[in-house]
């Protein structure tokens, strides 16, 4: 039984990591129907920003809490700037182009950003400082769930709730929903669609940056390629849960994480990806729009 609980928590941690990144995919898809393949790179840039800022601050002797908050803020702002710029440069000019064009543009952006960081930061793995300390009160449970796992679980839950509230109850959230339902109609009733889309990218990128900080601190190392690998899995999670749906991204991430963890624990880690992707195929066969996704109606 204890083994089951241990696997459950390692699956939840993995799932929460996927979900943190998947939220950004699903938000952008929900608004403009674009799979933003550069999102993994935004997450990676967030991790690097947090790395640089926290290294500088710890040299200057700031206390740990201040380092976390400042590094998190800096990463969120910097990543948002990247997210905003990527949208303006690579997606906005293609807004009326066929659907495939922005997709290709997104892949191009992803490759560009990876290589840009590769050239600027070398391809070596960098040690990421342990920003989340080992809490004393976690010590009795540490063999099941560590402090950083716990923080990731809590933050992912908070973000999901916060995002849902933002979309349901705020002005910008209402505008986002309107834009997602019918962009032209939203424009006609006076919503500044460009600004709504920019806001979506900014929020999504900020989330990715916070994810970058937490996950890098959990793993302890970063390089230019982390965004690509994590991005693929997060994208899978978003599709599994129903891309476009915010609770769906979290549900998809958790299901993917649990599947991998239990496959490793009870079968063999050689087959974790086999199980994860078989599950994806099965779910898409029976529910093509994902677990919580809305069936897309062809607008004529």
């Amino acid at each position: 039984m204890e083994y089951f609980i241990e696997l459950l928590f390692s699956g939840l941690t993995r799932g929460a990591i996927y979900a943190l990144i998947a939220l950004g995919y699903t938000m952008v898809y929900g608004i403009i129907g674009l799979i933003n393949f550069a999102h993994g790179e935004i997450y990676m840039i967030g991790a690097f920003t947090a790395f640089i800022v926290s290294t500088v601050l710890s040299i200057l002797g700031f206390p740990l809490l201040a380092i976390i908050v400042l590094a998190g803020l800096a990463a969120a702002v910097w990543s948002s700037a990247y997210g905003y710029t990527v949208e303006k440069l690579a997606y906005k000019p293609l807004r009326h182009a066929p659907r495939l064009s922005p997709l290709i543009s997104a892949i191009g952006m992803s490759i560009f950003l990876q290589n840009y960081v590769l050239l600027a930061q070398t391809s070596d793995f960098q040690p990421f400082p342990e920003l989340i300390p080992e809490f004393d009160f976690m010590e009795p449970f540490v063999h099941i769930v560590g402090s950083s796992d716990m923080v990731i679980l809590v933050v992912t839950t908070l973000m999901m709730v916060g995002l849902t509230l933002l979309i349901k109850f705020t002005r910008i959230g209402k505008a986002m929903r309107a834009t997602s339902q019918d962009r032209k109609m939203a424009m006609l009733v006076g919503i500044n669609v460009d600004r709504v889309i920019s806001a979506t990218f900014i929020v999504g990128s900020a989330l990715a940056a916070v994810g970058g900080l937490l996950i890098a601190s959990h793993i302890g190392q970063i390089n230019f390629f982390i965004g690509f690998i994590a991005g693929i899995k997060a994208f899978t999670a978003a599709v599994l849960g129903g891309i476009g749906s915010i609770p769906g991204a979290v549900l998809g991430g958790v299901i993917l994480g649990l599947t991998e963890s239990f496959a490793t624990g009870y079968v063999s880690s050689d087959y974790e990806d086999v199980f994860a992707f078989s599950l994806l195929v099965l779910i898409l066969i029976f529910k093509p729009s994902g677990l919580l996704g809305k069936a897309e109606i062809q607008k004529v």
């Binding site: 083994y3 241990e6 696997l7 928590f9 390692s10 699956g11 941690t13 993995r14 990591i17 996927y18 070596d124 793995f125 960098q126 040690p127 342990e130 080992e134 540490v142 063999h143 560590g146 796992d149 996950i215 959990h218 793993i219 302890g220 190392q221 390089n223 390629f225 982390i226 690998i229 994590a230 899995k233 991998e260 963890s261 490793t264 624990g265 063999s268 880690s269 050689d270 974790e272 990806d273």
Partner: protein, 375 residues
């Protein structure tokens, strides 16, 4: 430019192979050292350093008055690293009366050529053929080598785990890649063969995954008292860090893919106490530095691949001929196995299978942020 070099090399090879028979006839009373390997084609860069090494050793020996009063003569033959060519190369060397052979370079070519030398009673020593079967099959009592075989690293790890650390239950983890999985499979075989310990877990992990805690929990549940990991440092540092975070303080033994300073930098305090095998360090060996200097002086550049093991092999062969006092196969074999000889790869002799004892891998441990050799 490249084609000119290739042409010059070809011309040199052809020139040499033409020159040798006439020389052989002229001077009958010499020790004939054959040098066979890839001297042209794609893999020439693996074979030519051996020729240079042999020339340096032979020049040195001849300057000292030769062996037992006889001068040493080089017979250089190209096998282009191809098994079908290597049989011709071997036949040619045997028919020109070669006494001992330094070569071949590639494992496949070596394997093809060995039966011919075996029938002729010629001792062969390779500086670079690492295929485990060449010595372990027992088919070629005339074969020796000065390089560790492919499985030597796994052997070093398992010996260390069983003898020094007294581990009884070992979890073998790998990264599913050619290098990591190969190493892990050899380690598993050696543990099972020893009978003193058991493999309680044999698993591959996905490189680049965000979290390895599930596999870490599985290691804990298996009751292992040590982990042998085949793979590279990014995954190793994640696994070690998560093991230590879950308070699993068992031995972690890995290979030269982890014996890298980046591992220590990234894993930080979790790296402390981790064991890794790595190639033995020759740089403090005066013979090694002298051989490199001699190469620079003669050829004006740094030596290439397998130069040090080739230099050692040539020296060991000629030393054995000298000790044996004849070119008799059994006498040379005895001399190779019985006498320690100081070479560029350290003091070596050969075991009954033909592998050099004293070359290969050493075990290192991370102590205070540095890899330190475990004596």
């Amino acid at each position: 430019m490249k084609s000119i070099i290739v042409k010059k090399l070809l011309a040199a090879t052809v020139g040499l192979s033409l020159a040798i028979p006439t020389m052989a006839i002229a001077a009958d009373d010499t020790i004939k050292l054959g040098v066979a390997g890839a001297h042209s084609g794609d893999l020439a860069s693996y074979g030519l350093p051996t020729v240079n090494a042999a020339k340096l050793v032979v020049a040195d020996v001849n300057a000292r008055g030769g062996i037992n009063g006889k001068q040493v003569e080089l017979l250089v033959e190209d096998d282009v690293c191809k098994p079908e060519v290597a049989t011709n190369t071997a036949t040619k060397l045997v028919s020109s009366g070669v006494h001992v052979v330094l070569g071949h370079i590639c494992s496949g070519a070596t394997k093809a050529a060995l039966p011919i030398y075996k029938n002729a009673g010629v001792i062969v020593m390779s500086p670079s053929a690492t295929n485990p079967e060449l010595t372990q099959s027992g088919d070629y009592p005339n074969f020796f080598r000065t390089i560790a075989s492919d499985d030597a690293q796994a052997k070093t790890q398992v010996d260390f785990a069983l003898d020094n650390r007294n581990l009884k239950k070992i979890a073998v983890i790998h990264d599913k890649g050619d290098y990591g999985k190969g190493l892990a499979e050899f380690a598993k075989q050696f543990i099972e063969k020893s009978g003193n310990a058991e493999v309680v877990l044999f698993e591959g992990v996905t490189p680049g995954a965000v979290d390895y805690s599930a596999v870490v929990q599985k290691i804990k549940r298996s009751g292992a008292d040590g982990v042998i990991y085949g793979g590279y440092h990014p995954e190793a540092s994640k696994i070690v860090t998560q093991m230590r975070k879950k308070r699993i303080d068992i031995d972690f033994i890995s290979g030269d893919g982890v014996k890298d300073d980046t591992f220590i930098k990234v894993a930080g305090k979790s790296a402390e106490g981790v064991y890794a095998t790595g190639a033995k360090d020759n740089s403090s060996n005066p013979l090694y530095t002298a051989a490199i200097e001699a190469h620079k002086k003669t050829y004006g550049e740094d030596p290439g691949a397998f130069f040090d093991s080739a230099h050692a092999a040539a020296a060991a062969l000629l030393n054995a001929v000298e000790k044996a006092g004849s070119t008799d196969t059994a006498a040379i074999t005895n001399a190779l196995q019985a006498n320690d000889v100081a070479t560029t790869v350290g003091n070596i002799h050969f075991d009954e299978r033909g592998d050099a004892v004293g070359v290969g891998f050493a075990v290192y441990q991370v102590q205070n942020g540095q890899y330190v050799e475990v004596k």
